[in-house]
Symmetry: D2
Subunit: 343 residues, 4 copies
Amino acid sequence: MRIGFLTGGGDCPGLNPALRGAVMRGLDFGHEMIGFMRGWAGLVEGDSMPLDLALVEDLANKGGTILLSSRTNPFKKAEDLQSCRDNFEKFGLDCLIALGGEDTLGVAHRLFSEYNLPTIGVPKTMDNDLEGTDYTFGFDSATEVAVDAADRLKDTARSHSRIMVLEVMGRHAGWVALQTAVAAGADWLFIPEVPCDIQEMVAALKKKLDRGKKWGLVVVSEGAEIEALNEKDLPVDAFGHVILRDRGVGQFISEEIEKHLKIETRFSVLGHIVRGGAPTAFDRWLATRVGIKAMDMANAGKFGYMACLKGTQMEAVPLEKAVSKWKTVPVELYQEVLTLFQK
Amino acid sequence: MRIGFLTGGGDCPGLNPALRGAVMRGLDFGHEMIGFMRGWAGLVEGDSMPLDLALVEDLANKGGTILLSSRTNPFKKAEDLQSCRDNFEKFGLDCLIALGGEDTLGVAHRLFSEYNLPTIGVPKTMDNDLEGTDYTFGFDSATEVAVDAADRLKDTARSHSRIMVLEVMGRHAGWVALQTAVAAGADWLFIPEVPCDIQEMVAALKKKLDRGKKWGLVVVSEGAEIEALNEKDLPVDAFGHVILRDRGVGQFISEEIEKHLKIETRFSVLGHIVRGGAPTAFDRWLATRVGIKAMDMANAGKFGYMACLKGTQMEAVPLEKAVSKWKTVPVELYQEVLTLFQK
Amino acid sequence: MRIGFLTGGGDCPGLNPALRGAVMRGLDFGHEMIGFMRGWAGLVEGDSMPLDLALVEDLANKGGTILLSSRTNPFKKAEDLQSCRDNFEKFGLDCLIALGGEDTLGVAHRLFSEYNLPTIGVPKTMDNDLEGTDYTFGFDSATEVAVDAADRLKDTARSHSRIMVLEVMGRHAGWVALQTAVAAGADWLFIPEVPCDIQEMVAALKKKLDRGKKWGLVVVSEGAEIEALNEKDLPVDAFGHVILRDRGVGQFISEEIEKHLKIETRFSVLGHIVRGGAPTAFDRWLATRVGIKAMDMANAGKFGYMACLKGTQMEAVPLEKAVSKWKTVPVELYQEVLTLFQK
Amino acid sequence: MRIGFLTGGGDCPGLNPALRGAVMRGLDFGHEMIGFMRGWAGLVEGDSMPLDLALVEDLANKGGTILLSSRTNPFKKAEDLQSCRDNFEKFGLDCLIALGGEDTLGVAHRLFSEYNLPTIGVPKTMDNDLEGTDYTFGFDSATEVAVDAADRLKDTARSHSRIMVLEVMGRHAGWVALQTAVAAGADWLFIPEVPCDIQEMVAALKKKLDRGKKWGLVVVSEGAEIEALNEKDLPVDAFGHVILRDRGVGQFISEEIEKHLKIETRFSVLGHIVRGGAPTAFDRWLATRVGIKAMDMANAGKFGYMACLKGTQMEAVPLEKAVSKWKTVPVELYQEVLTLFQK
């Protein structure tokens, strides 16, 4: 077989070991393998390189992606789509394995379902918000970086009797914030899945200050939306969510805490530094396995599917599952751990 | 309720956050909570301390165990067992939550099944060899340390054109070795679950040297047993396994590689350094959840069970499951990743 | 002797081991030791706790400061100063050892020189900008965190063919930026000590893009001031420096690079996360030694001095040295390493 | 000029950034640069590769050495020496920059002093035992790994009420043990520079156990020699040092502690894992600077010298300085910190 690869969307730890696993497995079958550069842009432009053992052998612990990445979506321009389809044929692809998140997998899904092209997906997110798989690689590495930052902030919070607010990734789902808050022993958390009531947080923090805890840590997803229930003076949008303007939600919460509790507060936003770096052992293991699984699916002609983790097993799951809706934090899970923040 | 706790067996990252989760949850119900010191020794001797918010609040990221630990097994002495039973009554325990591995949970199981004492288990292993749960905390942290060591060894292997042998934990099960070998991109691995044939490894390594790879990394479980199939001159036991005498298996393999391949070889044994240190984010999350779950089980009178991870959910699993047999690496999983080592 | 301690200003890794070293040494002489809480605020308010072996024994690897910290400066209010002087007498202090930066040591210096109070300083900065000492603890730990972040950003820069801008600490001196840029192999750097010419950077980056390097990393001190030499359309202050308004310098540079080079650019600001966490081995060693030295100086009546590192030796240096001017990066040192950024 | 490079002896973090610094600087002058592979073996065999920007640009954070290394010493065989001299001429070398430790620099020194060949040294050791320079790169990285291991061991020591013994590198000098013991807050240390009296350690540990500290950590250099002063039953050599036979010194000390104090004891030997891995920020900075300095010395014809750190400055120091004697821990420095272990 002739098998193409591409990595799309924001880079995250695990793309390289996943590629390594897939190519290693492909060599068992004598497949010819090609990498398209910069996500779908490479397929549009026919920009490719052959993939062999030498290229992938040393990728087990490498961050980033040797195939480079971009956010190009060929469905945005008719001629890009046509180029994709033409290159699919021109390169004689028997299968294209796309490693990426909701956007990248969405394109793979449409190419398969609308144009009958033999695509297979390897899911990747740092936010862990892809349906169909228990975990995606990138998430554990990102959480590890966020927890390390949270641990550091606690030292300063304690030394200065402050409340520190840490804003972490998570536009649609609060997985990173949830696990970071639990792992770091935070005092409160806000995630997009639940109503974020400033007064509720203020009451919880006040309870702690009253019992003698002189500092605190609040973790918040970048996508958390603040309810203005008890804050009449805040500008709100049509959904009753506070309009933050150019402040991030971390900064907003920090200011609210200072206003209500008269305690020194600082915020910190974890940006791009969580994307790079060597993957954790967990992510390397997961990434390698989904890579191998994707290649086994290619051999089996399991097109239109993606390689997913269910419990401790690999499974083929329809690509449409990944693009149907976000995998958000279940309310029961939030409630399960809420006890940690309420004392 | 009056609830006792103890931590038994070798310490591992996660015991403290698990205790934190359980006690935090117990406070919701107004339980009185007591920690027995040094595992079952504390129950035998009645050596205890009250557990409250102040004691556990800051444990989310702490390695080790504030309850201390020991390998005391009260079933080894009749009077110790009697003391345990007496203290169970004297301390008025409505439930005892034991955090530990096969040994500690075995005692909890027998106290429940033979003496009808209300025990609950929280499984812990670094080796991940406990039946009934997908993962135990401690394992991810241990693997992360092992993978870090493996990454370092590769730098030296490459610089000196050597083969390095890394011996990791795993007496009965090869989980740490398996995931370390995959995550670090090792060249060969030996685990207790599969026949360890020196000649097979030598052939695989030779193939790599022949194609120009001038260095290598071999990962081996401490419990791997070497077949002497093609090595007529080695002393073997009744099962055909090579008798290592005072050498560890890592050293033995290292010597065999030098002998057969005439390449400079070194070995490294990861000992106690993998046991301590702050848990990984994954282990903190898992430990906290099993702690909370154990307390919910105590409330529900779910005695004789342990709190386990199944997929992404917590479940109550009978304690006897944990002590029936080791959870070893399935042959299919080994075969799934074998492709990575054969090129 | 009766010896007081306090830690003032922003917390940084090393304060706790420094305190440990000093108290350990003080015990050799039978001194009575007291810690004042929250920097000078503790002396003003008489808020103190006794320091003994049990309190300091375990501080060798702890971030933050058990004495807590604040930015209170008693010279800002006459009554605060008076309280300080009164409490000095009331607590019967034979010596006060103040651990802190330019501000904290400045107060210690004035108490000594203007009011003849027996103070000794232990210098601490993350910026390494204190005169009189080769290095201050906190700096190595901060740089290590910054370099780790820079390494991560490079993975993403490469994967996305972007230029990443990392803004690090350093208001008056570029030490953190300089060492981070060199250690991470950055493509350009801006520090407060040298003219920051956007066009010079643009030319250097363009040279790299032209030779085929498709990504880059720029490191900038928060205190770097941008010259508007060749940028006629930018608003400037009286010194010819670009007025940034609410943008940080990292964001500004990022925007300029995009404007001039038409390459995707992102910036990242390392904020409070560099302050906390366990100190590096280097900082623990340095902090412990300056702590011991400070106590030896107390014994010797070496008041008005601070404990400093010169080469590999500890030396007593007059406190006024620390407050006279900033220790900035010498132009020759900048020029020594400039070659790394010009290819 | 035509300038050769080689890296000899055990690899350590910093060789690659040092090479990067030197080559980057060499490009400023239009030098032609060549790397000889595997230390002196490459010069003996004429095994070389050209060094250019592309090869070194990305080495700032890489462990190991791209030039590979070996322990070949051309002075051991007359024909090897002759080959070296011949190749020096054949390759038209105007200067050879040798990066290595006492052995490698010793060869460079003899080639210069006995055969008038233009050599320059870049000192490298993990043990920090080279005379003539305040620090050598590799040492900070090794110590950081050792301190991380020590921190981990403390968690287990505490949890199990044990004394852990950590054996670290240092055959002739105790720098790694000294700084590790101080940085980790160990309870005792043994280094080669001072008499190692088991009874003195036992007394110190007993004092701690008596005051209620139930665990401990002892750090020992691999090269520490044990006095048998008060241990009449131990076999000793002609110098009165205990003969360890096949035990390492860490194991021996561990057994002695158990024997005398009846406390559970374990030992851990840090082997090859301290050699690899990315260098610390400190080592990257130091390595880059000595690399640049070495090239500046080549330009200035400063042959027979090595590039050294004195305080915060780079200096040229005669190569013979490096090979005259070991830089051991001064007794005064040991005594300065001894207070930390005696309570």
